[in-house]
Amino acid sequence: MSSPIHSPQGNWWIAGVSVLEKTWIRISVVWCLLLFASMIVWASYGKQNQAGPTYRASTTEFMQKVQAFKKAGIQTEDGIIPADEHIYVAAARFSFDGFPVVLQAGKQYQVHMSSYDVQHGLSVRPEHALSKQMSLQLLPGYEWVLPMKFDEPGVYHVVCNEFCGVGHRTMHGSFIVRR
């Protein structure tokens, strides 16, 4: 009897392996390679890749950038229409700075993101389809720039989904995407 609580007898390394077990290991290896390949393929051809440069930016520096962004943009009742393709948004306990922003559907924007104090989340979904959602991590001291292009008009709600204190649940912002 081959027991897991007794030392195996003889040279167990050369003992036979079931054909089905070998087959399963081969299938598993191929599957793991496919898992790997799909990330590479999506990075090249897919449209959702959280890849973009990160810069060091102190809270003061990033605050200034957000203020400059707000000043340069057009203030409307719905929010800020950015002056160019650069958007600056920041999270702080317990609100977002820079939101709401009014964007043009189909236009690519460079979204600059950071935090003024602790770790936060930037979790986005359109009002009309909660299942179309994604989340990013925002860290103080780091300015992350990700290109984004919203094709569908609508209100995209932003909540914080990294615990940042007792007021965490009250944080809200929005991208308002228009034709």
Binding site: H6, S18, C32, Q48, M134, Y142, R169
Partner: protein, 568 residues
């Protein structure tokens, strides 16, 4: 009565022979297994009580606690169930997998005692710090992400707990060392080998914990001026995920042990199973990088590399165990003529024994729910849709509750009967406990996953039905929250049942000869043929079903992601 719990029929050399496993058991090792195991159950009870508060808050029809209390109790829930319940059990498992399986004395019992006292003191201190957290400190939840400050006693407690665990693991390493010195040419039994790999992974994770918590503590008490959030995240996850990888490796070791002792499983290939453990050793800790997929400051190539070669080395290992363990059961039982058809070996298994059913449900639910979702969220791009949603919480409830907790519950039932030698009280309820608990916990977990992925419900929120200052809310998800709330409360009822049976059996159970419940393993007679030549077609069919579910879930997740706007 307490003294009775620690008595057994030891010979003059301090050893006794287990009537079920035939193992030579040292009195000191057994007593420490009992002490660590009992402490783990206390942590399970504390964590279970906090689960009631957490569930009744997140199910906003009740909305029990305000945010401040909710986060404190969520922290208590996390630390007791993810850390204390697990780690106390795992030290017990090391003492079973080392000294007991090898038939040796527990070396350096004083170190075991020092480790235990430090761990216990730290666990009490951390619980106290968590329950009394108030401004300007914040609840740490599990992660204590700097620079959000938590109680300084919390960080100090974490450091002491880690040190205590390392010290408690030393007697295990000493036992392995002594064994190899005395028997250099004898391979360790597979269970001892699995425990050894678990212990190495544990030490790696625990060192990561010291690297994380010592500077964080110094920052918290003002000795360091600044702590970098990205640095913290990268260091923290060495222990944050590493501790869960200890759970995984310990659980799989217990799967090999209990399927053998209770179900008659054999090892179908020592080479394959040991190689899979070696894969864990090299790759599993780096797989922790999947926590950083939605982070700034890390290049896409770094993310893809670490979730490919590293994580998939570990995924491959898990897929190997996913075949090897049920195949061991199938081949072992077929060899003894139990069940001729495709799944006859499984249906004829001892399902009315809660130790067996707990382990089998754990294997199935861990694989189908925890394993698959872990791989999905570990893909760089798919992580966009999973990161910090409630689906993530669903994933780790599938791994740590449906997987490890279920397995450890089965192990506790086993230890009560074989080491404490107490009959389980409320036998009919004990039989259904694993069915009841795993069934409702699986439904709870599934709801968390649906709510997270399909509705984007964030984790760590005291309420999502009403977000102050905006009309936006997640009320569309309310029907699924009802299913979640009811299923979670029923699962907790299953947990309470476990605690009542365990504690009740220890206090009021009749003295038991365990060989009347578990068939002694030495009595198993096979036809003597090599185990790898037995049919494993039932297991192969199961793993193909598993792969099909995996592929479907995988394709669906990519489809959901492809519907998003352009990012990056």
């Amino acid at each position: 009565m307490i003294k009775e719990l620690f008595t057994n029929d030891y010979g003059p050399d301090g050893f006794r022979t287990c009537s079920v496993t035939g193992m030579r058991i040292d009195r000191t090792a057994e007593n420490f297994v009992k002490v660590f195991g009992l402490t783990a159950v206390v942590a399970l009870v504390v964590g279970g009580i906090s689960a009631i508060l957490v569930v009744l808050t997140r199910w906003e029809v009740v909305g029990l606690l305000g945010p401040a209390d909710f986060y404190n109790w969520l922290s208590v829930h996390a630390w007791n169930l993810l850390i204390f319940w697990m780690v106390f059990m795992e030290v017990a498992i090391l003492y079973v997998g080392g000294p007991m399986v090898l038939g040796r004395k527990l070396p350096a019992p004083k170190l075991a005692m020092v480790g235990y006292v430090l761990m216990l003191g730290a666990a009490i201190g951390i619980n106290w710090a968590l329950m009394t957290t108030s401004a300007p400190d914040h609840a740490p939840v599990l992660t204590s992400y700097a620079p959000l400050p938590s109680s300084e006693w919390f960080y100090l407690g974490a450091i002491v707990f880690i040190l205590g665990t390392v010290i408690a693991a030393l007697p295990f390493f000493a036992a392995i060392w002594q064994e190899k010195v005395e028997n250099p040419n004898r391979s360790l039994p597979l269970v001892a080998f699995g425990a050894f790999i678990t212990a190495i992974i544990a030490v790696e994770a625990l060192l990561g914990g010291l690297i994380t918590y010592i500077p964080t503590y110094m920052w918290r008490i003002g000795l360091l001026e600044h702590i970098d959030a990205a640095w913290y995240r990268q260091m923290y996850w060495i222990v944050g995920h590493g501790s869960q990888q200890i759970n995984l490796a310990a659980m799989i070791t217990v799967w090999y042990f209990l399927t053998h002792v209770v179900g008659g499983a054999e090892v179908v290939s020592e080479k394959v199973s040991r190689s899979a453990f070696i894969l864990y050793l090299f790759f599993i800790n780096m797989g922790a990088a999947h926590h950083l997929m939605a982070d700034p400051a890390l290049a896409a190539s770094w993310k893809v590399w670490n979730t490919s070669y590293a994580a998939y080395g570990a995924v491959l290992a898990s897929m190997i165990h996913a075949f090897a363990i049920p195949a061991g059961l199938e081949a072992g039982r077929r060899k003894r003529g139990a069940g001729k058809s495709l799944f006859g070996w499984l249906w004829s298994s001892p399902w009315s024994n809660p130790v067996f059913s707990a382990v089998i449900f754990s294997i199935i639910l861990f694989g189908f729910m925890g394993g698959i979702t872990g791989v999905l969220m570990g893909q760089m791009q798919l992580n966009l849709a999973w990161h910090n949603t409630w689906a993530t919480v669903g994933h780790f409830h599938a791994t740590v509750v449906l997987g490890t907790t279920m397995t450890f519950m089965g192990l506790v039932f086993f230890v009560i009967q074989t080491m404490f030698r107490k009959e389980l009280i409320m036998a009919p309820l004990a039989k259904i406990q694993p069915w009841f608990y795993s069934g409702f916990m699986a439904l709870t977990t599934l709801m968390m996953m649906y709510l997270g992925i399909l509705y984007g419900i964030p984790r760590r929120h005291a309420s999502v039905m009403n977000i102050p200052g905006t009309d936006f809310n997640f009320a569309a998800a309310e029907p699924l929250f009802v299913v979640f709330g009811i299923a979670a409360l029923l699962a907790i009822a299953g947990g309470i049942l476990f605690a009542l049976i365990s504690v009740g059996s220890l206090l009021f159970g009749n003295r038991l000869d365990p060989s009347t419940v578990f068939r002694p393993t030495h009595s198993w007679q096979g036809d003597g043929s090599p185990v790898h030549l037995q049919s494993m077609r039932g297991t192969f069919a199961f793993t193909l079903i598993f792969l099909a579910v995996f592929v479907i879930a995988y394709v669906l997740n990519w489809y959901l992601l492809s519907r998003l706007w352009e990012i990056g």
